[in-house]
Amino acid sequence: MKTLITIFLSFLFLISNAQENQYEQAMNKALKNLNRAKTGDDFLNAANTFERISLNEKNEWLPVYYAAFSYIVITYALPDNSQKDTYLEKAQNFLDKAFKIEPDESELYALQAFLYPAGITVDPIARGAEYMGKMNKALEKAIKLNPNNPRSYYLRAITTLNMPQQFGGGATAAKPIFEQAKEKFDKFQPATAISPNWGKAQNEEELKKLLANE
């Protein structure tokens, strides 16, 4: 009898374990695809995968986080400005879902700060000031929630770099922020294997370019 119970329990354990692994496995696989993605289609593929996972894992914020992330990246590859807003809307929807699951997650505010500037190019005159303001607000919050999240600093650095000097941007203003981001990236350890861990390589590259141009 005892043996039977053991078997039954281990069977249950196997199933539940298999299921837990299924989520992590799927995430790992999807992340691999995301990290390899180069074209807009690759990112769309990744976004679709994360969306499918998110529909089954309603209490996990990471699938919706990555789906939103992928949609934001896609907008940079879109040839036509008129489509940008629909993709960003979709990204915002995913992000909103993530905020519902994990309201105090620094990474979500950082991603929100990544989303705003993506929409500026659609109508810079109307949106520039407003969206930059919203972005700064989101970054402040991201840093407040986790001062060691390197992505907040990287995003601040890259937007400062891309902003015209007339608005207080440019290389000289951006460099110290890139350096600060590098410090944070060097110390950063993701909480799990599937937690957000992007931006380090891009940060190094931008810093290298800045140093080369000096």
């Binding site: 078997i7 995968t49 979709k90 607000k137 919050k141």
Partner: protein, 708 residues
């Protein structure tokens, strides 16, 4: 035992690997392959993305009855029932366009909306702020849209043959009783509020929603911005004064204050005016905006504006051939608070209160006229979204209005009245299908002063005539209490009435939009009298009437950032009325048959500069000539104006800096708004006249603004 476990494990492994292949192709309604669609079995991870040919293929370990989902941006999500037992191939899935995302039918007859959020609109909020010739005035910018008249000496909106008082202004749904600064004779006024306060606005030239009343011709509905995006300050130095603002942002709360002190002394030296100022105009004002997000969907907004302005001039009273010392001082306080919240998923409530006091002190040759207007409003609107296709709004509002005028001319006189206006409305918008929508509403109003109730039906509909075009129509009855200048003498009057019928065709594709609108408007119960400002009540009656019909055309090509953006609006109108002291039916002084505006804007990215040019044309306006026996049959010469606005962005003293220059009537056209005739004829029996012209031929304002 081990064997059993082994078998179980084997079974699991087998279960995981026994994959069934599902493949097919995704098409759009036009039979074109859809790339990038997400295809998956509901409730599982199994799925894939369609490739460039719309083809998809994926493995699943699920069997039996399952639902296959296909979704993509811009299309309706499609669900397909499948029975899975073996490989399924050559599935053909057709995704339907999601009209709500792309080209939904929109009821828009008579309406120009400026919004960042809605896709169907023809204008953006910043179009309003950055239109040359508008002087940063909301109403000035709407004056470049079809349906409006150029009335240079007034500065207010005149819509489709309607007088300025026939347009009412609302802020966040609440009535604004005195949206314009008080006016000196023959000098244009302008709106009190900066367009930067608003992130959306609706300008309706007729046929508007049952939510709004007490406006015969038109409404301007302004929506203030939500939370301030960030903490920041701004100081501007102008050739006509100083402006400053500070906004503070907390997590769910923001507070912004602005202040200004304007004095035209310097500017009048640079661009001399043909006015004898005894005391040049001083305007001081302040606004206060408080916003608090009470929940995910709830928001409290409070707005306050405080204005004081004063000026004195030597008024050339040509009619009576004398110069008079005329002083005007105005104090205006306007406060409103609104609260919006979702009540569950199906209901929304919008409620608000507002108060306004407006005090005009006019002193004409030591004889004072003091006018005090006090008003208050309470309004609540509920919106129901029970079904996706039907949105129903209903609500009620109360407006209390107290008017008191004290005149000290040859004795002390007091004129005044109090009115309580109660209104309620219900309106449903029904989306019958994705090409047809209908809106029907009814408004009821009761005035305690007039002691009469009025029922006003409003109907509108829109139907798609193609992928990018639609036809829209509106019909409605409107009424408005007589102006206070008559009510103060006689409360035995009826509301003035009008009916609007409008037909609009709109085409919008990519950056281009075209709009054609034809309308017919009928007036009845307009105020008539024999003698103006007569205190004899029997002098005023409701026997006036009139009509106006015409066409409005709008064309816009709004190219992408950094390229040219322009719009052209043209209006033709034919209107006549027999009202006030008109002896016969005639076209009133503020109407020109042809009005044209050309607005051009461009941002030069290389030099961080923005340029805007507006050309305005209006054909001649009627004026009364006592030498001509035919009433109002003379016309002024045509009106022409080219105005520019230049903005340059730079970084100065470590702060973001904006340089801004506006020049109105750059080429100095000699415009004439009308003529004033002397009350007495000269020795040859002819009444001499004097042209009413702009105070200054050209006007320029330079501004430097620092943001930190």
């Amino acid at each position: 035992m081990k064997t059993i476990l082994f078998i179980l494990l084997q079974f699991l492994a087998f279960h995981l690997s026994a994959q069934i292949e599902i493949s097919g192709t995704i098409f759009s309604e036009n039979n074109e392959p859809v790339t990038g669609a997400n295809i998956f079995i509901q409730g599982s991870y199994n799925g894939t993305t369609s490739d460039s040919l719309g083809y998809f293929s994926f493995g699943t370990d699920l069997t039996g009855d399952q639902t296959l989902i296909a979704s993509f941006i811009g299309y309706k999500t499609q669900a397909v029932q499948l029975h899975i037992s073996k490989n399924i191939q050559n599935l053909k899935i057709i995704l339907q366009d999601d009209v709500s995302e792309l080209n939904e039918v929109v009821i828009n007859a008579g309406t120009f909306e400026a919004s960042d959020k809605k896709k169907s609109v023809l204008l953006k909020p910043l179009d309003i702020a950055l239109t040359a010739g508008a002087n940063g005035d909301v109403f000035g910018a709407f004056g470049t849209l079809p349906g409006t008249q150029k009335v240079g000496e007034e500065g207010r909106l005149f819509v489709r043959g309607g007088d300025a008082y026939e347009t009412k202004t609302f802020m966040d749904g609440m009535l604004v009783n005195s949206p314009y600064y008080s006016q000196m004779p023959d000098l244009p006024t302008q709106g009190r509020f900066s367009p930067l306060l608003f992130n959306g606005s609706v300008f309706s030239t007729g046929g508007y929603s049952a939510e709004f009343g007490q406006a015969l011709s038109s409404i301007v509905a302004l929506n203030t911005t939500a939370l301030e995006p960030e903490t920041k300050s701004n100081i501007s130095v102008l050739t006509v004064g100083l402006q400053g603002s500070h906004a503070h942002r907390w997590d769910n709360t923001s507070l912004a204050i602005t202040g200004e002190l304007l004095h035209t002394g310097l500017s009048n030296r640079l661009f001399p005016q043909n006015i004898d100022w005894i005391k040049e105009p001083i305007i001081s004002g302040s606004t206060l905006l408080f916003r608090h997000k009470t929940s995910e969907t709830g928001m409290i907004k409070s707005f306050g504006s405080f204005n004081y302005n004063t000026s004195t001039l030597l008024y050339d009273n040509f009619e009576e051939s004398k110069f008079q010392n005329l002083a005007l001082t105005n104090n205006n306080v306007y406060l409103n608070t609104t609260y919006n919240e979702m009540l569950g998923e199906k209901w929304m409530v919008n409620t608000g209160v507002s108060v306004n006091t407006d005090n005009d002190k006019i002193v004409l040759e030591n004889e004072p006229i003091n006018t005090l207007k006090k008003s208050g409003q309470v309004k609540t609107v509920f919106t129901n979204f029970t079904t996706e296709k039907i949105t129903t709004k209903f609500g009620a509002d109360w407006v209390g209005y107290d008017y008191l005028q004290k005149v000290n001319i040859g004795g002390n006189y007091k004129f005044g009245f109090t009115n309580q206006q109660l209104s309620s409305f219900v309106e449903s918008e029904i989306k019958i299908n994705h090409i047809l929508a209908v809106r029907a509403g009814l408004r009821a109003e009761y005035s305690s002063l007039i002691q009469q109730s009025n029922w006003m039906p409003r109907l509108s509909a829109a139907i798609k005539t193609g992928k990018n075009s639609q036809l829209s129509t509106a019909f409605g009855k409107f009424c408005q209490n007589p102006e206070e200048d008559y009510l103060k003498f006689n409360d035995n009057l009826q509301p003035e009435k009008s009916t609007h019928s409008i037909l609009t065709w709109q085409y919008k594709k990519g950056t281009k939009s075209f709009r054609f609108e034809a309308y017919y408007k009928k007036y009845s119960d307009l105020i008539k009298y024999d003698e103006e400002n007569s205190a004899a009540p029997e002098n005023y009656n409701n026997s006036g009437s009139g009509y106006s019909h015409g066409i409005d055309v709008f064309w816009r090509n709004r190219k992408e950032f950094g390229k040219s953006d322009y719009w052209i609006s043209y209006s033709w109108i034919d209107t006549k009325r027999n009202y006030l002291d008109f002896p016969v039916e005639a076209t009133p002084y503020f109407v020109s048959a042809h009005n044209l505006s050309l607005v051009y804007k461009r941002f030069f990215t290389g030099i961080q500069s923005f340029a805007s040019v507006t050309y305005s044309f209006a054909s001649g306006r009627p004026y009364y000539n006592p030498n001509n026996p035919k009433f109002m049959s003379d016309r002024t010469r045509c009106y022409n104006d080219i105005s520019i606005g230049l903005t340059h962005l730079m970084y100065l003293f470590n702060t973001q800096t904006v340089l801004h220059l506006i020049v109105n009537n750059m080429f100095g056209f000699n415009n004439i708004f009308g003529y004033t005739y002397s009350n007495t004829p000269d020795e040859t029996g002819i009444y001499p006249r004097q042209a009413v012209t702009p105070a200054t031929k050209r006007m320029a304002v330079f501004l430097i603004s620092f943001q930190f």
